[in-house]
């Protein structure tokens, strides 16, 4: 039991923190397109220090950072309230998949444009009828000469409007058992068979898109891994993504609890013991989430792979966000109804936290089946 950082990790953190203090570009412009271009610039800046391809091996332009360094990066960039790089999905998921499962040509073709944000990536896994039950996805890829013809619909696709490439899970064998018939391929978004429609959320903004795919073409050379191996190619990246995100999420929550404390004081509610107890309970919950995440990270560092215990922090994250935004409403009292880009927005946004990235119900199934060994419902 030793939570101190290694000297090299400490050095990495200090260097990163100092660099962020000098280079943090701030929140950037309003407007989604302007914001996106701003983040593209920011990615260039990050990549000058090899912070964009943080986890990538040096031979592909990365920094070869350890899991611990990746976690530190997530924490620090959040702490600094610095923006995320534009091509975040390519950096965190697409690139690592190509590196792990791609061939030499694919590496040569795809990696560099991810790093320099000249080609943006999005992820095409979820479908309208395949949410929690992702493996039931229906988008079909039919073999044709030189490649595949793809037809189907994807949903919750962030960055699709900017993306050149989609990480696509499609069904290449409709007769195989459901996980086995899937393949992982890289779809060119800039072709007539691909239509992107923004999906407006209850918050009013559009973080996500629907993508309608009709007879779009994927050449053979864009298949990653073997035909029928798409599930295992795609799913491992999701676990690493979660482990990396947990600590950054805990930092965000800490910041928001700090803002909530400010709100409580400003509203003169800091003498109200009911509010204080609710706030204290949230902080306790947030601290245990942070510590659970550290424990999970520590385990992942030793075993090489994040465990199903990560579902705990995911459940906690949603619960805490929902609880803290509800408390903020009660603190605002008679002003709670007013549209408010901070707390009003967050209240609504938090409702999705128990759905996105695997519902809390699915996370509880994972804990029950994979950690506790309880029987799966058949």
């Amino acid at each position: 039991m030793d939570l101190t950082l290694e000297p090299s990790e400490q050095a990495f953190r200090d260097e990163l923190r100092a660099w962020l203090e000098m280079n943090n570009p701030g929140p950037g412009p309003e407007g989604p397109d302007q914001q996106f271009e701003f983040r593209r610039e920011w990615q260039h800046k990050l990549q000058e220090q090899r912070f964009a391809g943080l986890s990538w091996p040096p031979e592909f332009g990365g920094r070869g950072a350890t899991l611990m360094e990746q976690a530190i990066f997530g924490e620090e960039i959040t702490r600094a309230r610095a923006p995320m790089p534009a091509n975040v999905l390519g950096l965190v998921m697409g690139g690592p998949v190509v590196i792990a499962h791609g061939n030499a040509e694919q590496k040569a073709r795809f990696l560099e444009p991810i790093l320099n944000a000249s080609e943006i990536w999005c992820q095409g896994f979820s479908e309208p009828d395949a949410g929690s039950d992702l493996a039931s996805l229906k988008t079909r890829a039919v073999k044709v000469d030189g490649g595949w013809k793809v037809t189907g619909q994807k949903v919750w696709t962030s960055l699709a409007q900017y993306a050149k490439w989609m990480m696509l899970l499609a069904r290449t064998d409709p007769d195989a058992p459901k996980h086995n018939g899937l393949s992982y391929m890289i779809l060119d978004m800039k072709q007539p068979g691909v239509q992107v429609r923004p999906l407006r959320q209850i918050t009013g903004e559009s973080e996500f898109n629907e993508v309608f795919i009709e007879d779009a073409f994927v050449p053979d050379e864009n298949l990653i891994g073997e035909v029928g191996q798409g599930w295992s190619v795609g799913i491992t990246t999701l676990m690493f993504e979660r482990a990396g995100i947990a600590l950054a999420s805990a930092m965000t929550i800490k910041q928001e609890l700090g803002e909530l404390a400010t709100l409580i004081r400003e509203r003169g509610m800091d003498a109200d013991s009911v509010i204080r107890q609710r706030f204290g309970a949230l902080v306790v919950h947030a601290e245990t989430m942070r510590l659970n995440s550290y424990r999970g990270l520590s385990q992942a560092i030793r075993t090489g792979i994040p465990g199903p215990e990560g579902s705990m922090a995911k459940i906690q994250w949603a619960d805490i966000n929902q609880g803290l935004t509800e408390l903020a409403m009660d603190v605002k009292g008679a002003d709670a109804p007013l549209a408010d880009p901070v707390w009003g927005y967050r209240l609504l946004r938090a409702r999705a936290n128990s759905i996105e990235g695997g519902t809390s119900e699915i996370q509880r199934n994972i804990l029950a089946e994979r950690v506790l060994g309880l029987p799966k419902l058949r």
Binding site: P128, S132, I202, K332, G333, D335, A336, L338, I355
Partner: protein, 342 residues
């Protein structure tokens, strides 16, 4: 004893469900919400149906029916999520009738009963401001400040409308200093207003629950309708429990207001707390049942969710009513009067 609507009350309920279901079809509701309008023509029809004067006494040109009948209609307005000043007008009418002077009542209630004038109601916060629904179209604005209330003539300038979470109702900030005092039973009148609000919230909860249950029957994942999984079905059971509890509390509070006045204050606070809690819990829970689709603007659920959240913060606060329930149930307040207040 009959803890259920009478045949006559059921007829009112059914008429309201039919009328509002056609006039405020959810596409219409969405259209009005997104354009920021009410539909004035429907208001005329509502007045013609006599609902604007439902609980206003005969002598003022109303139907002289009771709080139960009004609650029945209000639940349907909530169920339909009608963008309409019906709630604010009804609540103000209840307060005016209970606490107004003879002259005030004579001046305003007949016009309200006929639908020619509308009134509204706001509760002042610590800084002498109130967020008042529909103040931009109301001829009368009643501002409540603790145990006192004042009447000012409206409407306020429509351009002062502020954006709230709830797209289906229009709010205006109003400063409250002047105005004629209402010299009667303001506290009793506010209890009626809270019951009216609770009735609307019951309707909102009912609608959200029905949407969730319907979806749980047809949405299939892992080879089963999701409603067959206890994570979903027990969630729906809890929604039922909260909605029915709020309904029981509201019907009882409405009945007590009409027929059992000594129980009315406690009953009103219980209804307020139960309905405000149910409103948020049930709509948020319905969103969870729907998963991602429930988080989209295109889906209608968010309109209910937002109405429920805002309804939970207008009139008195839920915690103040919970405090009042404690006070009326064996824990007399130790705080000097006036410091707390609803």
């Amino acid at each position: 004893m009959r803890f259920d609507l009478s045949d006559e009350q059921k007829a009112i309920q059914s008429a309201a469900r039919d009328f509002l279901g056609t006039r405020y079809d959810i596409r219409k509701v969405r259209e009005l919400a997104e354009t920021g309008n009410y539909d004035v023509s429907i208001w005329g029809e509502i007045a013609d149906l006599g609902w604007t004067g439902l609980a206003i006494a005969d002598e003022f040109g109303g139907q002289g029916l009771g709080m139960v009948e009004l609650a029945v209609v209000l639940e349907e307005f909530g169920y339909a999520l009608a963008p309409s000043p019906f709630l604010s007008n009804a609540a103000a009418g209840l307060l005016l009738q209970r606490a107004g002077s003879a002259a005030q009542k004579q001046r305003w209630l007949p016009a309200m009963a006929s639908g020619k004038a509308t009134a509204t109601l706001g509760v002042l916060d610590g800084k002498g401001r109130a967020l008042v629904p529909d103040a931009g179209i109301a001829s009368v604005i009643i501002l409540v400040d603790g145990q006192a209330a004042r009447l000012v003539e409206g409407p306020v300038d429509k351009s002062t409308r502020v954006e709230t979470l709830d797209l289906t109702r229009h709010y205006y900030p109003v400063e409250g200093e002047d105005g004629e005092l209402l010299e009667g039973d303001v506290s009793g009148g506010m209890d009626l207003a809270e019951v009216a609000l609770a009735a609307e919230l019951v309707g909102v909860s009912q609608r959200a629950m029905e949407m969730a249950v319907e979806y749980a029957k047809v949405r299939t994942q892992f080879g089963r309708p999701i409603g067959a999984y206890q994570a979903v079905s027990h969630r729906c059971s809890t929604m039922l429990l909260e909605t029915e509890s709020a309904r029981s509390a509201t019907l009882y509070a409405a009945w007590a207001a009409d027929s059992h006045p000594e129980a009315a204050p406690m009953a009103a606070s219980v209804a307020k707390v139960a309905a405000a809690d149910a409103g948020w819990h049930v709509t948020a829970s319905a969103l969870q049942v729907h998963g991602g689709i429930g988080f989209t603007w295109e889906h209608d659920l968010h309109l209910l969710l937002k109405r429920a959240k805002v309804d939970g913060h207008i009139f008195g606060s839920v915690s103040a009513h919970r405090e009042r329930v404690a006070e009326l149930s064996g824990l007399p307040s130790l705080v000097p009067e006036g410091v707390q207040g609803l």
